[in-house]
Amino acid sequence: GSPQDTASGGGDAAPVKVGLVYSQSGPLASYGKQYIEGFKAGLDFATKGTGKVGDRKIELTEVDDAGDPAKAVSAAKDLIGKGTKIIAGSTSSGVALQVAPIAAQNKVLFISGPAATDAVTGANKYTFRSGRQSYQDVVTAKSFIGDAAGKKVVVFAQDGAFGDANEAAVKAVIGGAGATVSSVRAPASATECTPFASQIKAAKPDLLFVAWAGTTAPAMWQTLDQQGVLSSTTVVTGLDIRASWPTFGAAGSKISFLSHYFDGASDTEAAKAAKAKIPGGTLDLFHPDGFAAAQMVVRAVQEGGDDVDKMIKALEGWQFDGVKGKMTIRAEDHALLQPMYQAKLSGSGTAFTAAAQKTLTGDESAPPVAQMKG
Amino acid sequence: MTEPILSVENLSVRIAGLHILQGVSFEVAPTGVTVLLGRNGVGKTTTLRAIVGLTPRNGEVRGTVRMGARSLLARPTHRLVRDGLGYVPEDRCVFAGLTVTENLRLAERRGTTPAYDKVYALFPELDRRGRQRAGSLSGGQQQMLAIGRVLLNDNRLLLIDEPTKGLAPKVVTEVAEVLERVGESVPVLLVEQNLAVVRRLAEDAVVLSAGRVAWTGDAHDLLLETALTKSLLGVGAEVKVSARSEPGPRAPQSRTKGGAA
């Protein structure tokens, strides 16, 4: 054998290899779990239970990246080397950003998963996304204050790219609509948030947008509550997975949530099918992402066979009915336009229930078109 | 002869593949001082450490060591010591980070009243420097502390490795006197290079050579017989005087330069 050999895709009846690189272990393991459950349900739904496209079986290879981009890149190279033409997954943004160029270099299809970073949109023509992006979150947040002109908005976020992206998006979306946006940033490791709560309180905003991740979130919410921030202004943040809801404690019912998805947010065919298929029967934040990814994979194989360029053609501009409702893959930058939700939590202690206040359509929450980079 | 307090039979020690002691047997009389003699590296320290159970982990000990009726080798060091086996190591091993007082307090043993007055009477320096860190003591002062630690308690047997090393002549004399007195009530197994001290203290002697016992018997016989001393210890009569004996003002004969070489 020569070192430059790679296995080539098989003939027509040969199975279609699909690689799923996502977090089975590590800090994002629960996101990964929802993603793969959703994916399997979606595959079932899109192939009508056969697991086949035409007479070709979809053969899944799952690889754990443990949240480490280096491992994800290794896995992607391994899969591509074995002739895989479609890779999906990426639970974390770091992984998505590093796998996307690999896909482009090797001309394979990459469908990013729960990774929320805006940078995946328009990363290159081989990269798609099956989940929402930060920008769509922010647009949903904006819907809480109606007319933004003259309003005062504060972004409260942790240092780092996630915080930067959210701050930039809020400035663009809400600031662009006439509000004055300022920000309070905390170190990612901060465990004591009183100083920041004091700063926010002193700023007297009309809307507080909170972008916070990690295990310090409950303490942060408690501090905002204790210092009277929650009762003095409208506070918006993203609704995380169900398991995290009880950690909001008393603060839970005082926050206005923007939601990517929660169980009961939609009642589509796909949602019903997904509910029936996944273990436990309760949908959660990232089930729709996996579900949509499977739908996109099936579409790509159906229309493109083994030809990646054809797959891309088939996906660009494609509209389909996903778990959340009507989804559109925007041809220009591969953004996935999708419904977004305003939600409220009620109840208390460990038994919160979420209810949708309002649904934004895919067009209403659409991000601006990004320049396709490669 | 009365029952020995300590009997060592066929003691054999290997460390890191080296056969350091090759079947050493001797006995320690229930009273008085028994000295263990021999050149550098013959295994004196190794013998003492094997008896108290401090052979390094990569070492292997064979043979029997009995104190009275009790076998020692299987018992952990701290038990042996609690039962009255006192050990003064060759390189002093004072706890450098602890003060002198703390070093002594650590040596107190449950059940006995520590004899501080005895120790302080012998080494007033230790009393004076109670709050000094032992690591900053002078070499000789550390040696005093190491000896003082073991004199604090009542012991049934003392193992002492080169106690007079690094001590000023005056202190050597004092330590020798103390050991002599101690030896009257507690048997001592002593490793010593200073033949003047040996001469004064020792009743029995054991001479090691290359990991084996070369001679045992009455110490005075050993020291009297020049031929024996020379062959066993490599010390001739004249050399003994010029190189080893504690000179006093009354030792002018050794002051001529180049006398012995």
Partner: protein, 296 residues
């Protein structure tokens, strides 16, 4: 004015948390000379055991006396785990410092993964008395009760540790044992028992920190210990390895510095300042603020 009071008191609360974590670390490091990277695991064990007890142990619960029982159970669990770790893993490696560090590193990886395998990666709400969620008004500042609880607990732990070191011989034995273990046994002391005891105390202190820290955070998660550990290490080193009082001073310095710089400066500057403080202290006084003396 009320801002300054608020920042000071919450900063002290943070300092108390750091001290609780650091005290056990400092004790084990200063006395037993083991740089214990598994300290975070002891923290986690304490937190999860308290959490478990509050839900399952008869007599324990999230409130009042039941909460005390739960915390006591957590502390006990931490101590037991620490003792096991010492007996099984550390003891056979004595005097091989680097290998001991490695074992604790391995343990921190494996232990946290085990917690995660058992209870999942996600944070769980922590049972706690209602009053810990409230605030107390001090001169116009709304000070969280959980922070005050931490301050009280830290003061108690500080007192207890000082008493232990001052009024028992163990401090002495262990300090000597670190220098030369053989020689301590040659003085007739079972040094191993003393080391186990120190681990037990370190584990108990860590577990208490884990339990009270979780009250403060409101949740318990497997990785929680690890993130606190870095600052605890910094506190231990600034304070002088092994000095409990030094750790207390250092914790206060670090907590207040972080709190005030984060408020008045830009964010992230607080952490940089703390690291800078560490570097400066070490360069000027390599032995730390208090030096290596375990009794004061």
């Amino acid at each position: 004015m009320s801002t300054v009071i608020l920042l000071t008191l919450t900063g002290l609360g943070l300092a108390a948390l750091y001290f609780l974590v650091a005290s056990g670390l400092s004790l084990v490091f200063g006395l037993a000379d083991v740089l214990n990277f598994a300290h975070g695991l002891f923290l986690g064990v304490g937190a999860y055991a308290t959490w478990w007890a509050a839900g399952n142990l008869p007599g324990a619960g999230p409130d009042g006396l039941g909460f005390l029982v739960a915390v006591a159970f957590g502390v006990l669990a931490g101590a037991v785990v620490a003792v096991l770790v010492e007996l099984v893993l550390i003891r056979p490696l004595y005097s091989r410092t680097i290998e001991q560090v490695l074992v604790t590193v391995g343990l921190s990886l494996a232990g946290v993964a085990l917690l995660q395998a058992t209870w999942g990666a996600d944070a769980r709400p922590f049972p706690r008395p209602g009053w810990t969620r409230d605030v107390t008004s001090v001169l116009g500042a709304q000070v969280p009760n959980a922070g005050l609880l931490l301050i009280v607990a830290a003061a108690v732990v500080l007192g207890a540790l000082l008493a232990f070191l001052r009024f028992t011989r163990y401090g002495l034995i262990i300090r000597a044992g670190v220098e030369n273990r053989e020689m301590v046994t040659a003085l007739g002391i079972d040094v191993r028992k003393a080391f186990t005891l120190v681990f037990a105390i370190g584990g108990a202190a860590a577990a208490l920190a884990g339990a009270l820290g979780s009250v403060y955070f409101g949740t318990v998660s497997p990785g929680q210990g690890g993130s606190l550990l870095i600052f605890a290490f910094i506190v231990v080193v600034i304070g002088g390895m092994g000095s409990v009082v030094g750790s207390a001073y250092a914790a206060v310095a670090v907590g207040l510095l972080q709190q005030f710089v984060n408020y008045y400066g830009t964010s992230g500057l607080g952490d940089l300042c703390v690291v800078g403080l560490l570097a400066v202290v070490l360069l000027l006084r390599p032995q730390g603020l208090a030096g290596k003396v375990a009794h004061a």
